[in-house]
């Protein structure tokens, strides 16, 4: 019986080390995005992370951004929602919203992340259609929608838009 415990323990150590080893080899360091937590940030599947603005005002200096002045990108505040937090990055060309991405999203558990990730492309197209943060949101992902809209509005506020 004692020997059995040793075999079990030896197997357990081997299994544990084996999985961690495999994981270490197959999973390279995950990309880190601004404002996101390491290892948990997930770019929105809807669009590649857009480069910072081509105009004079990059997202880091939203104060000078004004309507009608080239292309600007800015990231809104990290918003808490029921199951995690997210931040929205908006790109504005002239006075038009040309792209929205989610550089940082973090959820308590994978199911919420899945839901959010399903919702984010829909939210993005709503924003691009409405050209504002006044969107209906996605039903079934109410919290995510609210956080998305709030963070977006914060970003737009930084650009002194709308």
């Amino acid at each position: 019986m004692k020997r059995a415990a040793w075999y079990l323990a030896a197997g357990a150590v081997a299994g544990f080390a084996g999985v961690l080893g495999l994981h270490g080899r197959t999973a390279p360091a995950e990309p880190r995005a601004a404002g996101g937590a390491p290892g948990r940030t997930q770019p929105s599947p809807s669009a590649p992370s857009s480069p910072s603005g081509t105009g004079p005002a990059a997202g880091s200096s939203p104060g000078r951004a004004t309507a009608g002045g080239g292309t600007h990108s800015v990231t809104g505040a990290l918003e808490q929602f029921g199951y995690g937090e997210l931040a929205v990055r908006v790109t504005v060309t002239g006075s038009r919203i040309t792209n929205v991405t989610v550089p940082a999203i973090q959820t308590a558990e994978p199911f919420s992340r899945q839901l959010s990730e399903q919702a984010i492309p829909l939210l993005r197209s709503q924003v691009l259609t409405a050209d504002s943060a006044s969107i209906n949101g996605v039903s079934g992902a109410t919290f995510t929608s609210e956080a998305y809209a709030t963070s977006l509005q914060a970003a737009l506020d930084k650009l002194h838009l709308k």
Partner: protein
């Protein structure tokens, strides 16, 4: 069903087979301890891997979020609990290579000892996850429980599964189990398979180690499918195939002593049944009342084609009903099972100890021992009438140049203690000890011989749970 050509009473000169050997019986697969060791290593590796998977799905920043620690504890308990539940199923799946080494008895002991762990871990899992998610969502515990049950896919049915598991856990607690009949308990126990099936989907769909990890998802699903396959093959397929091959029917029921009957079955191709003396089978007598339940009873003799004999004492509803079996009743069997055989022997000699109806396994084991093995046999009974099969045992012992000691009376007068054992078996250090009987008796003898210096690997036992 036509009557057998030879009357079974005459055809079963059990214990008096001498001179011409019966036709060679099939080689009984010899137990390979290495198989059990490999299985142990694999079981440990799986546990380690399942634990590691929860770590790989976790990051430090996640732990720092509200509810992070509780959620992590939830996935850790969930993974380990589910893995142990899988082991519980494997322990009773009757995989022959492992069964041969550890014996049904040993496997069931592990199963029983392990049982509280998966259930409490899974309960902890449910609690931790609810707490963690409630903290993350900044909502109340009950509200969050409601959200989990209604919004999250498969959580409701998994919770029902957990409820079934807990119910089965509660009725398996010794004090409560004692009040239920074996039949009821067994039938309720079957619902465990349902409970496990119900919980499977939510693991795959929601588990942090599986979402977005197709490989772990596939491995995990394969492990469960494989386990289900093993259960189906060895608990269902093999018994059906064996039963169809041998076509056993009851030939005769013969009283052996107070409350004890021998059931003699006849069947085809019994010379092909790979059985060793000391093993038992699960018997299912296809009568209207009891076709749905299979019970373990020892073979009380090696098969003598076309006959197979089991000897049973009436202690429960099923064993009592055997006395009224009619000849011609079809019988289905599972097995033979058990590591209580001569193949387990590690020393040159053997001492065989049995109490009460434990004599049945001892009787067939004795028959399997070689001619000059000179076994010492100790039979313990409270009354002389309880020494069933006494004449057969005595013949077999004489034939093997052994010694038979019967200890009849109450425990004070005729119990087996250190003094009597030393006196009756002076060369104990050269012998393996085989003990068979009720649980309490077996435990007592095992303790005693361990104290006298017999190592674990030379002690073999088969206990009857009443």
């Amino acid at each position: 069903m036509s009557a057998p050509a030879v009357r079974p009473g005459q055809a079963l000169p059990v214990g008096r087979r001498r001179g011409r050997r019966a036709p060679a019986r099939p080689r009984v697969p010899v137990p390979r301890p290495a198989a059990a060791r490999i299985a142990l290593l694999a079981a440990g590796a799986g546990l380690g891997a399942a634990t590691a998977l929860t770590f790989t799905a976790e990051t430090a920043s996640q732990l720092r979020t509200p509810g992070g620690p509780a959620t992590f504890a939830g996935s850790l308990t969930g993974m380990t609990g589910t893995y142990l539940a899988l082991m519980m199923v494997l322990l009773v799946s009757r995989i022959p290579v492992i069964e041969r080494v550890l014996g049904q008895d040993g496997l069931l002991r592990w199963h029983r000892r392990l049982a509280p762990w998966p259930i409490s871990l899974l309960v902890a899992h449910a609690v931790f996850i609810t707490v963690g998610y409630a903290q993350a969502a900044r909502s109340g515990l009950w509200h969050e429980a409601g959200v989990l049950l209604t919004r999250y896919p498969y959580v409701l049915i998994a919770t029902i599964g957990l409820g079934i598991m807990c119910l089965i856990g509660v009725i398996s607690i010794r004090a409560i189990r004692g009040r239920l009949s074996r039949e009821t308990w067994w039938l309720v126990h079957l619902y465990m398979y349902l409970a496990l099936a119900l919980s499977f989907a939510h693991v795959i769909v929601l588990g942090p180690s599986f979402v977005g990890h197709p490989l772990t998802r596939a491995v995990w699903s394969l492990a469960w499918a494989g386990t289900a396959g093993l259960v189906l093959a060895y608990r269902f397929g093999l018994p059906v195939v064996r039963s169809l091959r041998h076509r056993l029917v009851v030939a005769e029921v013969r009283p052996e002593g107070p409350g004890v009957v021998s059931v003699i079955c006849s069947g085809r191709r019994l010379d092909e049944l790979p059985v060793a003396g000391g093993q038992f089978m699960l018997w299912r007598f296809l009568t209207r009342g009891s076709w749905w339940q299979a019970h373990p009873y020892s073979l009380s003799a090696l098969p003598q084609p076309p006959y197979l004999r089991l000897t049973v004492k009436a202690v429960g509803g099923h064993s009592a009903s055997l006395a009224s079996l009619r000849p011609g009743t079809p019988v289905m069997v599972e097995g033979p099972y058990g590591a209580f055989t001569r193949h387990a022997q590690v020393r040159p000699g053997a001492v065989l100890v049995a109490a009460g109806i434990g004599v049945t396994a001892l009787r067939s084991l004795l028959e399997d021992l070689p001619r000059k093995s000179a076994p010492v046999v100790l039979l313990r009974a409270s009354r002389p009438a309880d020494l069933v099969l006494g004449q057969e045992v005595s013949d077999l012992v004489r034939h093997r140049r052994g010694q038979l000691h019967t200890l009849v009376g109450d425990r004070e007068q005729a119990g087996i203690d250190e003094r009597s054992l030393r006196q009756l078996v002076p060369d104990l250090r050269r012998r393996d000890v085989y003990v068979c009987g009720p649980e309490g008796f077996v435990a007592g003898i095992v303790d005693l011989v361990k104290r006298l210096g017999v190592p674990d690997e030379a002690i073999h036992h088969e206990a009857f749970a009443l």
